[in-house]
C-alpha cells in the first residue's frame, strides 16, 4: 500500500530562489515570493486594462466589477479623509487591490505533483512584505503631515483642550501609540494570513495521516476534510476583511496627518 506523508505546515512559507541574480554583494534573486507578487500585479493590470478597454456609459459585466471596486474604495476615502483625500485615492486603491489579490491568490490550491517552487505562495504571509507596505503608509503619513501642517503636525501628540498636567501622561501614550501603528498594521495582516494558512494545512495534514492509517480511520478522514473546506470559506472572508481593514486604517492615519493642526 502506498504510504502517505504530509508536508510540514511551515513548508508553504519557504522562500525558494527561482532565478539567481545579484547586484554586487546584494542578493536580488527572483524568488517564488517575488514571482507571486508579479503575478498579483500583472493580474490587476490585465483586469483593469480589459475592464476599461471598451469603456461605455452602460457598462458590461467586467466594467461593472471594476466600477464597484472603484466606488467602494472611493467612498471609503471620501468618508474617512474628506475632500482633500482625493489625492490619496490612487495610493489607497492600489494598496487595497494589491493586498486583496495577494490574499486571494494565496488561496488557490496547488496542483498535486508540481515541484515545490511552483507551489501557490501567499506573499502577504511574510512579515517583511506587510511591514514594507505599512512602513510606506507611515512614511507618507509623516512626510505629508509635516508638509501640510509644518511643526503643527506635532499637535497630533498633544491635543488641545486637555488639562496641562495631563500632558505628562498623554504625550508618551500618544507617541507610543503612533510608533506602534506601522507594527500593528503589519502584524495584523501577516498574522491573519499566516495563522489561516497554518490552520488550513494542519487540517489537510490530518486528512493525509487519517487516509494513510487505512481501514475505518480512512473514512474518518472526511471530518478534517470538511473542516478544511470550512476554513477555506472563512479565509475568503478574512482575505477581504484584512485588505479592507488595512485600507481603512491607512485612510484614518492619513486623515490624522491631514487634519493634525485642526485639533
Amino acid at each position: 500500500m502506498q504510504t502517505f506523508r504530509a508536508a510540514s505546515p511551515m513548508e508553504q512559507f519557504e522562500i525558494i530562489n527561482l532565478v539567481d541574480l545579484s547586484l554586487g554583494s546584494i542578493d536580488i534573486s527572483l524568488t517564488n515570493s517575488a514571482l507571486w507578487m508579479l503575478i498579483c500585479t500583472g493580474a490587476i493590470i490585465i483586469f483593469f486594462a480589459a475592464a476599461t478597454r471598451r469603456a461605455a456609459i452602460i457598462p458590461n459585466r467586467l466594467q461593472s466589477t471594476a466600477e464597484v471596486l472603484y466606488e467602494f474604495v472611493s467612498d471609503l476615502v471620501r468618508d474617512t479623509i474628506g475632500t482633500e483625500g482625493r489625492k490619496f485615492f490612487p495610493y489607497v486603491f492600489t494598496l487595497f487591490l494589491w493586498i486583496l489579490i495577494a490574499n486571494l491568490f494565496g488561496l488557490i490550491p496547488t496542483l498535486p505533483g508540481l515541484p515545490h517552487a511552483a507551489h501557490t505562495f501567499t506573499t502577504t504571509s511574510h512579515l517583511i512584505v506587510t511591514l514594507a507596505l505599512s512602513m510606506l503608509t507611515i512614511t507618507i503619513v509623516i512626510v505629508y503631515g509635516f508638509w501640510k501642517n509644518g511643526f503643527k503636525f506635532l499637535k497630533l501628540f498633544a491635543p488641545s483642550g486637555v488639562p496641562p498636567l495631563m500632558y505628562i501622561l498623554l504625550v508618551p501614550i500618544e507617541v507610543v501609540s503612533f510608533l506602534s501603528r506601522p507594527l500593528s498594521l503589519a502584524i495584523r495582516l501577516f498574522a491573519n494570513m499566516f495563522a489561516g494558512h497554518i490552520i488550513l494545512k494542519l487540517f489537510a495534514g490530518f486528512v493525509v495521516s487519517l487516509v494513510g492509517a487505512g481501514g475505518f480511520l480512512s473514512v474518518m478522514g472526511l471530518l478534517p476534510f470538511l473542516g478544511a473546506v470550512a476554513v477555506t470559506a472563512l479565509e475568503f472572508l478574512v482575505a477581504f476583511l484584512q485588505a479592507y481593514v488595512f485600507a481603512i486604517l491607512t485612510c484614518i492615519y492619513l486623515s490624522d496627518a491631514a487634519h493634525a493642526a485642526d485639533h
Partner: protein, 76 residues
C-alpha cells in the same frame, strides 16, 4: 526544568491573550447587534467603525499568537 519544556509551556502561555481577544470580539459584535436591532437605519453607517474595532481588538490576540510562534520556532 528542561529548557525545551519551559519553551513549550511558554509558547502555550503566550496564547492566553486569545481568550481576551475572544471576549472583546464578542462584546463588539454583540453590542453592535444590540444597537443595530434598536435602530436598524443607523446600522449601516456604523459598520466601518465596528470593523475597525474588530481589527484593533483582534490585534491583541494576534500579538499573542505571534509571540507564541516566535517562541516555538526560536526566531529571535
Amino acid at each position: 526544568m528542561e529548557v525545551e519544556a519551559a519553551k513549550l509551556i511558554g509558547a502555550g502561555l503566550a496564547t492566553i491573550p486569545l481568550a481576551g481577544a475572544g471576549v472583546g470580539l464578542g462584546l463588539i459584535f454583540g453590542n453592535f447587534l444590540t444597537g443595530a436591532f434598536r435602530n436598524p437605519s443607523a446600522a449601516a453607517a456604523n459598520q466601518p467603525t465596528m470593523l475597525l474595532g474588530f481589527a484593533l481588538t483582534e490585534f491583541t490576540g494576534l500579538l499573542g499568537f505571534t509571540i507564541s510562534i516566535l517562541i516555538l520556532l526560536e526566531i529571535f
